[in-house]
């Protein structure tokens, strides 16, 4: 692999590929950022390893993606930041359409709580062992996942309630 990495990030990638050689699918760079895609079942181990051993103490963001492919349709991206080494690493896992489920990383970074709820709300990707697994933006009884590709731009008519236009007194 031909990567331009800082010394500390190079060390991280090397140890990651040594320790999780069978779980690490690919490492690549794009637009100056480093991405590592791993098997979904190793997510919690890798996250704990990165946080404990390589100071990735700050989870900047959790992003969901609808790749709209027939297999492994959804992708969850974790934006990790090492405050000590000033390194940023994007961790990716994929899950399929039939059972979109990924381990929750709340035990590692408690701040992932609301980020994961947002990903669930927009894409319907469930997070195993999440402490508060509810929608965060859309109404509780909303039946769709708005950022999925098949969801129409203007929504589904009547799926969100508009206020009653006759006053209570009448």
């Amino acid at each position: 692999m031909n990567l331009e990495l800082s010394d500390s990030l190079q060390l991280t990638i090397d140890e990651l590929s040594d320790k999780y050689s069978d779980k690490l699918i690919e490492v690549y760079q794009s637009s100056g950022d480093t991405f590592a895609r791993i098997e979904a079942d190793a997510l919690l181990d890798v996250c704990t390893f990165l946080k404990e051993e390589h100071h990735f103490v700050y989870l900047s963001d959790v992003i969901g993606t609808d790749r709209y492919t027939s297999d492994e349709r959804f992708e969850v991206i974790y934006n990790l930041l090492s405050l000590k080494n000033r390194d940023r690493l994007f961790l990716k896992v994929r899950c399929n359409e039939e059972n979109p489920e990924v381990d929750s990383v709340v035990p590692v970074w408690p701040g992932a709580n609301w980020n994961e709820r947002e990903v669930y709300d927009m894409f319907g990707i469930r997070f195993k062992n999440h402490p508060d697994h509810r929608r965060i933006f859309m109404p509780e009884d909303f039946q769709y996942f708005p950022l999925r590709k098949e969801f129409p731009l203007l929504g589904i008519k009547g799926s969100i309630e508009l206020p009653n236009t006759t006053p209570d007194t009448e």
């Binding site: 933006f137 708005p146 969801f151 129409p152 731009l153 203007l154 929504g155 589904i156 969100i160 309630e161 508009l162 206020p163 009653n164 236009t165 006053p167 209570d168």
Partner: protein, 160 residues
């Protein structure tokens, strides 16, 4: 100045409708419903340069009980629509509504599932203002249109 010098000790006749409408049209107090950037232009509309006081509309009432004209300024989500409708229902009759700007009128550039595509989906809008955001003069124009509308209304109705 004033009528009394011209009239001496005389008197005028008019219809009650005219008198009531004249009073209502020149004291249309706005209920500011500032939701986005249009609210900034709405503040300029009330401020000294554009001076809504010339039309008797300088008092922004933040209480729906004291206001006559609701200015919906900005984009409105489905979540917010319930609050707006509730405030509208709390305003005493007679009342009027201005949809200020592209977003309040049609949803504007917020063409998406979470934004109501025009507040006329749940409010009886009297005047729409185009623009993104509209200039304060456009808000004055809408206010003058509302005044024109008030002046043609039948305010006093006989209970038969």
């Amino acid at each position: 100045m004033g009528l009394e010098s011209a009239l001496g000790e005389g008197y005028l006749t008019s219809r009650v409708d005219n008198l009531v409408n004249w009073a209502r049209a020149n004291a249309a107090w706005p209920m500011p419903m500032g939701l986005a950037c249009c609210a900034i232009e709405m503040m300029a509309f009330a401020g000294p340069k554009y001076d809504a006081a010339r039309f008797g509309s300088e008092v922004m009432r933040f209480s729906p009980r004291q206001s006559d004209v609701m200015i919906v300024a900005g984009w409105c989500t489905y979540k917010m629509s319930h609050a707006i409708r509730r405030i509208w229902d709390q305003m005493p009759d007679p009342k009027w509504c201005i949809a200020m700007g592209a977003c309040a009128s049609t949803g504007g550039m917020h063409r998406c599932y979470g934004v109501v595509q025009g507040v006329d989906n749940f409010l009886p809008v009297d005047t729409y203002i185009s623009g993104c955001p509209p200039r304060p003069d456009a808000v004055l124009h809408a206010l003058m249109k509302i005044q024109d509308k008030i002046k043609t209304e039948h305010s006093v109705m006989l209970d038969t």
